[in-house]
Amino acid sequence: MITGSTIIFYLLAALTLTCALLSVSTRQIFRAAIYLLFSLIGIAGIYFWLQYEFIAAVQIVVYVGGIVVLIIFSIFLTQQAGEKLAKQKLDRKIFSALAVFCGFALTMLQVYQHNFNNAATTSAPTVADIGRKMLNVDQEGYALPFEVISMLLLAAMVGCIVIALRSKPETK
């Protein structure tokens, strides 16, 4: 029985994996960034398919709108136009592919041998549930990690400014 939801899942998975593969194998760095963007959009689509709409929205806002744009700007700042990445040695590629394939096979073997006790799927949590739990100061709340993350973001921002600050020339 093939339903529309099944077809959509396979399309999204194919988009994600194809774009991820192209992103790590293309020799033009700008194209790698664009393929990464489409791969992240595919993952956001999978979150939508799983009915976790809030996570999908966060994925699009933070990854697609933030991190990929940051990466593209840093490519503009550091790369000459039309310059291709250096070709890698063939033996390194072969050994990496071999190691990755073995790791993947091992992981999937373990996963398929393990039997997860599937629970009956209930409805996905709404944004109200997420907000109530995130700002809850009880035992099961996430108020403390929330505050720690805000401090981390502040520290990262200050650190970025300090690191990327152009130091003044020494000569006067």
């Binding site: 790590v24 990464l36 550091t78 990262a156 400014i161 990327a164």
Partner: protein
């Protein structure tokens, strides 16, 4: 073709993780290595969400882990790009071979 469930999503996220590892092993440009790390982090997020939905649907721990991982990934990418731009200023290249000069 089967109805997609937990195992399909685990397959997808494992494949994504190892594609990211392949990129991390073969690339020698710092920005492309950062892109591979983003792929790896995304596969982990996908795993958390899948387990949250299919194994413990009444809890929300996987969802919160994903949210916090996304926030930390944003901070990590910003710091990494600041370091990369600083490295480019001093060496005019962002090859990973130059990165060991950062310790001096």
């Amino acid at each position: 073709m089967m109805n997609p469930g937990l195992y399909h999503i685990l397959f997808l996220s494992a494949a994504l993780f190892f594609i990211g590892v392949y990129g991390f092993l073969t690339r020698r440009n710092l920005i492309t290595m950062l892109m591979s790390i983003e792929l790896i982090l995304n596969s982990v997020n996908l795993n958390f969400i899948a387990f949250n939905k299919y194994v413990w649907p009444e809890k929300m721990d996987g969802l919160f882990f994903t949210l916090f991982i996304i926030a930390i990934a944003a901070a990590e990418a910003a710091v990494a790009i600041a370091i990369i731009i600083n490295l480019y200023r001093s060496h005019q290249s962002i090859d990973v071979g130059n990165a060991e000069d950062l310790k001096y």
